[in-house]
Point group: C2
Chain length 450, copies 2
């Protein structure tokens, strides 16, 4: 049986087993990350028993650290304060912080008081950094060397640290004021003579991130410069910690989810495993906003009721114009927001991007408009109707592309999240403009149309 085959049923049977030792041994052979996805399906007493059994073999902390944020409240509730504090004390500060953040305020203080003094102090210190900052994602545990130390002294420093399971592959060289000078891969220490000063072995390192910076900035630096760990500095430029690449992967996945979700108007907390109640409460307000914009756009149709009255088949084409325009706008919006998220917009300036999308929209709008106009002509036997459809699709699609490109770039230049609300805004504009241009042109040409 490999880790991939472990099911909830198997786990439940294992936990129901009387022989503690057997269950404990079997669990010890399973990687904690394999157990994480199964937690949501366990009853509170099963969770408690699982944590107790894993704790004996030092595996409970790793499993909890891998929990998705949205599941934490439910799982943490099942664990008694004392045991939770013991598990937390075994975690790196970034993971500890992540779990503590998901405790209800009233419980949080109680659990923090049960922590050993050193961990408690570290935690309180970490909590001072702003939410989603590099300071909150870093570990404060790293080996700092002076440039005059020899390779052998550095190796002694590693030996002093002992075996730590998530050991860092690099050592850092700092000056007397703790300012970062460079980085030394451990393999350089062993592949050079023991008396070499680490100052000669280090790679001079200028890439670091401020503890106040956003985690996303840290992730982009790690991705761009292919780092295994990124040094974090305080406002006085002193090195205070490192962000490791495994945390960066979590940040990247989280940010990608956020980007995808925002385009669809979803909240980060609305996941496949969150309860229906939570999902409803997250989606409903946005749906009401959407309803408001949909009615506002629809009121444009209301202005042209008399035109519709004279040629009711116009109603057939209204959703086509709005729908195709909306698609075009969302496509442009997706390309631009994704390029901002990946830092790609540097490959092309904002103005050039807007110009390009405008041109793309005009060409696609013209081709799609000609096709649609021709189909409408064949279907309704009305050439003027085809012309109205062509013109309104050209206008709507061109404007859709312009808005899809300009709105996120404007939001970004004002320091806002480029994707937040942009989807609703673009759809609203393309709907309203689609209705307005189609029915407006139809009204102008009404004599020739009917």
């Amino acid at each position: 049986m490999t880790d991939q085959d472990i099911t909830t049923d198997f786990l439940k049977r294992l936990l129901a087993n009387d022989g503690d030792l057997l269950a404990e041994e079997r669990l010890a052979q399973i990687h904690p990350s394999t157990l994480t996805p199964l937690l949501a399906d366990l009853a509170p007493d099963e969770i408690q028993r699982l944590i107790d059994l894993l704790f004996i073999r030092h595996r409970a902390a790793a499993m909890l650290a891998g929990l998705p944020a949205e599941l934490m409240p439910q799982i943490l509730e099942a664990i008694p304060d004392q045991r939770l504090a013991e598990v937390l004390a075994r975690l790196e500060i970034d993971d500890m912080l992540l779990l503590v953040e998901h405790l209800p305020t009233e419980r949080r203080d109680g659990v923090e008081e049960l922590l050993p003094p050193r961990q408690r102090r570290d935690l309180m210190h970490a909590e001072l950094y702003p939410p989603d900052s590099a300071g909150r994602a870093m570990v404060t545990h790293f080996i700092a060397l002076q440039p005059k130390m020899t390779a052998q002294e550095a190796i002694d420093a590693i030996r002093l640290e002992g075996d730590s399971s998530d050991a860092e592959p690099h050592l850092y060289v700092v000056d007397e004021s703790q300012r970062l000078l460079g980085v030394v891969p451990i393999r350089k220490l062993v592949s050079n003579p023991p008396q070499t000063p680490v100052g000669h072995l280090m790679i001079s390192e200028s890439i670091s991130v401020s503890s106040e910076a956003d985690q996303e900035e840290a992730a982009q630096l790690v991705a761009r410069y292919d780092l295994l760990a990124l040094p974090v500095t305080d406002p006085d430029d002193r090195m205070v910690g490192i962000i490791t690449v495994d945390d960066v992967i979590d940040v990247i996945n989280e940010e990608a989810t956020e980007d995808i979700y925002r385009l669809a108007g979803l909240s980060d907390a609305d996941r496949v495993y969150t309860s229906a109640r939570v999902s409803i409460s997250k989606r409903l307000p946005w749906m009401i906003v959407n309803l408001g914009t949909a009615f506002t756009a629809a009121s444009v149709v209301g202005l042209y009721e008399s035109t519709l009255d004279q040629l009711v088949s116009l109603a057939i084409f209204l959703p086509v114009v709005a729908g195709i325009g909306g698609n075009g706008g969302i496509q442009t919006l997706t390309v631009i927001t994704r390029s901002i998220a990946l830092g790609e917009i540097e490959f092309s300036s904002g103005f050039r991007a807007i110009g390009k999308e405008l041109w793309v929209g005009l060409v696609i709008g013209s081709v799609a408009g000609i096709l649609a106009g021709f189909v409408a002509f064949l279907w309704q036997g009305n050439a003027i109707l085809g012309l109205v459809l062509l013109l309104s699709m050209m206008i709507t699609m061109t404007m859709a592309s312009l808005l899809g490109a300009a709105i996120p770039l404007l939001l970004k230049s004002f320091g806002q999240d480029p994707a937040l609300g942009a989807g609703v805004l673009v759809t609203f504009c393309t709907d309203a403009l689609g209705f307005f241009s189609f029915l407006g042109i139809a009204t102008l040409l009404l004599q020739k149309l009917v």
Copy 2:
């Protein structure tokens, strides 16, 4: 001047400078990754000069390796065959493969012939793996140890390797048949007595990926188990390479882009910096498909032309029903496809997810329907119209959620990409169903409605 301040203009001035030595020195101080985004704005002769100057200091390869795939053809065109072969020869096999893949076929063979024999053989071997497979993303360069070797012998092996810039932090322990037994972090070698056998120091390792597996699978394993590198095995279970975490980050970003893009019906090759011509050619076919589905949905409206004729204000509400239904469907689709991409669907079974979304859709459809019905009643002074809107929104939204959840899960169970085409299909269904339910119910209640 820090790396962040380097602009295209500065780079152009530097390249126009007569003194080669000055430009060469200045460029050597800039991280190659900083130069990558600026390449797209240089003229071919500037690119050629930049590559020549960087090559002297061994920095050209790193810069080219960081290029987005879509820009490669344009940049590679500017570099003469001989120089390109020299640059390629300095790259790890995975990066070499990535660049060679973007050469036109007729040029590719010529450049490959200029490579040193060993690199040429490695490249031909790597090209045998399927596209996007783990085999293509791996480096074949890693240190393999026998379990009986001592820590000191392992350190000697590292010393023999010399300093490699992107050095791996782990060594691997294999048996006589090259089958993976475990992994040894370098720090364990130095923090234990030199005579300890590496078999005692290694962490027994069961996590590896087949060379034929998809890169996405490799990325999920690295993310889930917080690895710095993932061993790759051939069909006989022999270890043939490793995938490093920096490549995994690229895969994760690329897959996230793919997921976001597929929901909007975009091609991966359609980026902010691709030419308008390419973007148009990629988006147009999809837009025509969309036009087809939009017309098909619109033909439903055509069936009820006589109903519309009797109460033209119904046309106002058509886009509201279809639009809100479409939004709901895309939201569900986004939650489900993202959960599949992140491997989260394990936190909740497929059937449970469908059941939940169905319920969410029914509740949101009912609330939004009551609101919309009430607004329609106030606006048009017609209570029956409000009732029609309420009923059709409930039906459309519930079905939208069902389809948004079921379509990607079905696609996945048939081994297809869950997001591919799902967006168009969901929008088409919600449009058609929205029109059908709204106008159908209106026709049934027509006597009371007018």
